[in-house]
């Protein structure tokens, strides 16, 4: 009996050896975890944040430009005479956290944000269908010198907060989709400003790759609570040119920061109140 089992054991082993004729099979790793990467090309879909964060030890300098409304006629060269700008720096602290600072020209707003990657979409050993990132930002909407001299002025009146959960899925190599539940709080609002202290929106964004270097992106931020303004809607192209990503887009809001484009959009996309804009970013490696 013992002999018989030995016989089968070695017979089995021999077959295994025969199967090894294909030497490559000796290298096959067991159950690896494969993470979905490059869900979006940039750290922003159009205006809204994407689940991508600036890579570790890299500093990214962004120049964002928004022109005037396209339907403002030839006299204004279809909006190109007018422009607002936002400069920003983003830095990857480590593989799961990035920080950023920025300033928008028209609203005279300074902002800072913190982005933390909580979990990554993966398959294989570890299986999870979504990539989840949290983004929190603080905005300082500077008052004029005159306003600040008033006795009723409080520094904290200028502050705005926004908190987002970014949930994305790379459906296939070309198509990615993301939802962005967003909460925006204004410390102080002007009674005439047609917005609330607390604002809730559930944003939706997606990208589709037209080629390896060009993708088309779209996003909208429907406000789901007591909204008095229009909802922002944006379309854009990401074009990759070697060292940097060039983003061109059309939106019904000229703003580049969440509180303003989500709660203060007053123009309707389908009436032609569309603003053309572009972003250019350049990445610098701070240390290897």
């Amino acid at each position: 009996m013992k002999n018989k089992s030995l016989f089968f054991l070695f017979l089995f082993l021999s077959f295994k050896v025969v199967a090894q004729e294909n030497l490559l099979s000796l290298l096959n790793e067991k159950n690896e975890t494969e993470y979905a990467s490059y869900i979006f090309k940039g750290t922003k879909i159009v205006n809204g944040q994407s689940v991508e964060i600036t890579s570790k030890n890299e500093l990214k300098f962004n120049i964002q430009h928004r022109f005037g409304p396209i339907n403002s006629g030839f006299y204004n060269l279809y909006g190109l005479d007018y422009a607002q700008v936002r400069f920003s720096f983003d830095y990857g602290v480590n593989n799961w956290m990035a920080i950023g600072i920025g300033r928008s020209s028209v609203s005279k707003t300074l902002d800072g944000n913190l982005k933390i990657k909580l979990i990554r979409q993966s398959k294989g050993n570890k299986n999870f269908p979504l990539t989840v990132v949290v983004n929190s930002a603080l905005y300082l909407n500077q008052y004029t010198v005159e306003d600040r001299r008033k006795s009723s002025f409080l520094f904290t009146d200028q502050l705005i907060y926004s908190h987002q959960i970014l949930i994305a899925r790379k459906v296939n190599r070309d198509f990615s989709v993301q939802i962005l539940p967003t909460f925006i709080h204004y410390n102080l609002i002007d009674k005439s400003s047609r917005k609330n202290n607390d604002n809730v929106s559930i944003g939706i964004g997606c990208r589709y790759k037209l080629s390896n270097r060009v993708s088309v992106n779209a996003e909208t931020f429907p406000q789901i609570y007591n909204s008095m303004n229009d909802n922002v809607m944006s379309f854009g192209f990401d074009i990759e040119t070697g060292g940097h990503v060039f983003q061109l887009h059309l939106s019904n809001s000229p703003a580049m920061i969440e509180p303003i484009f989500i709660t203060e959009t007053i123009s309707n996309f389908f009436n032609g109140n569309i603003y053309f804009g572009f972003n250019i970013s350049r990445v610098f490696t701070i240390k290897n």
């Binding site: 016989f7 070695f10 050896v17 030497l23 000796l26 490059y38 190599r173 270097r213 990759e240 990445v283």
Partner: protein, 178 residues
């Protein structure tokens, strides 16, 4: 009958051990590649290269996961995987070949099929193969022409990426045991 079974068993035992002893396997080899172009030189390293060498048949195979290549800049790595090598479609690059010449001093010549980006080409490479009985050390250098593997470099970065890439391989293989 019992006798016959014993003989077959012994034969199988010998067969098992004999075949096993011939394979050398390594999983922590290093492949470095260099691209020298007018504007910038790019170097990437992969430290998870796998290879198997069968000393009796002189067969030699390599397998490399493209996502394991580390670049000095993350953006280069993204372009390498997303635009040029399309590593989501072709995650691995393999070499399947034979040692056709092996001299006493370790000089070795290898012939085989290199698969990159879904395209297979026959190549010949020269290098050193030192068989130290318990392990085998392999070092080789060869070059890869991007055009041969359908790797398309857009004109705008023609001064950033070389058309021919130099590849450096270094790996230690240990005797494979079940």
């Amino acid at each position: 009958m019992k006798m016959a079974r014993q003989i077959i068993s012994i034969f199988l035992i010998i067969f098992c051990f004999k075949t096993n002893a011939q394979n050398f396997v390594g999983k922590e080899g290093i492949i470095t590649f260099f691209s020298e172009a007018p504007i910038e030189n790019i170097q990437a390293v992969n430290k998870k290269v796998g290879a198997v060498y069968n000393a009796s048949t002189s067969e030699l195979v390599f397998s490399v996961k493209l996502e394991d290549f580390i670049f000095p800049k993350k953006l280069m790595q993204e372009h390498f995987n997303e635009n040029y090598l399309e590593s989501d479609i072709y995650p691995k690059s393999t070499f399947i070949g034979n040692i056709v010449e092996l001299k006493e001093n370790g000089y070795a010549k290898v012939n085989g099929k290199l698969n990159i980006h879904g395209v297979t080409n026959s190549i010949t490479a020269e290098g050193i193969l030192n068989n130290n009985k318990s392990n085998v050390v392999i070092k080789a250098k060869f070059s890869v022409k991007l055009e041969d593997y359908n790797i398309d470099i857009p004109k705008i970065v023609i001064y950033n990426i070389a058309e021919v890439i130099d590849v450096d391989v270094e790996i230690q293989l240990d005797k494979y045991e079940e």
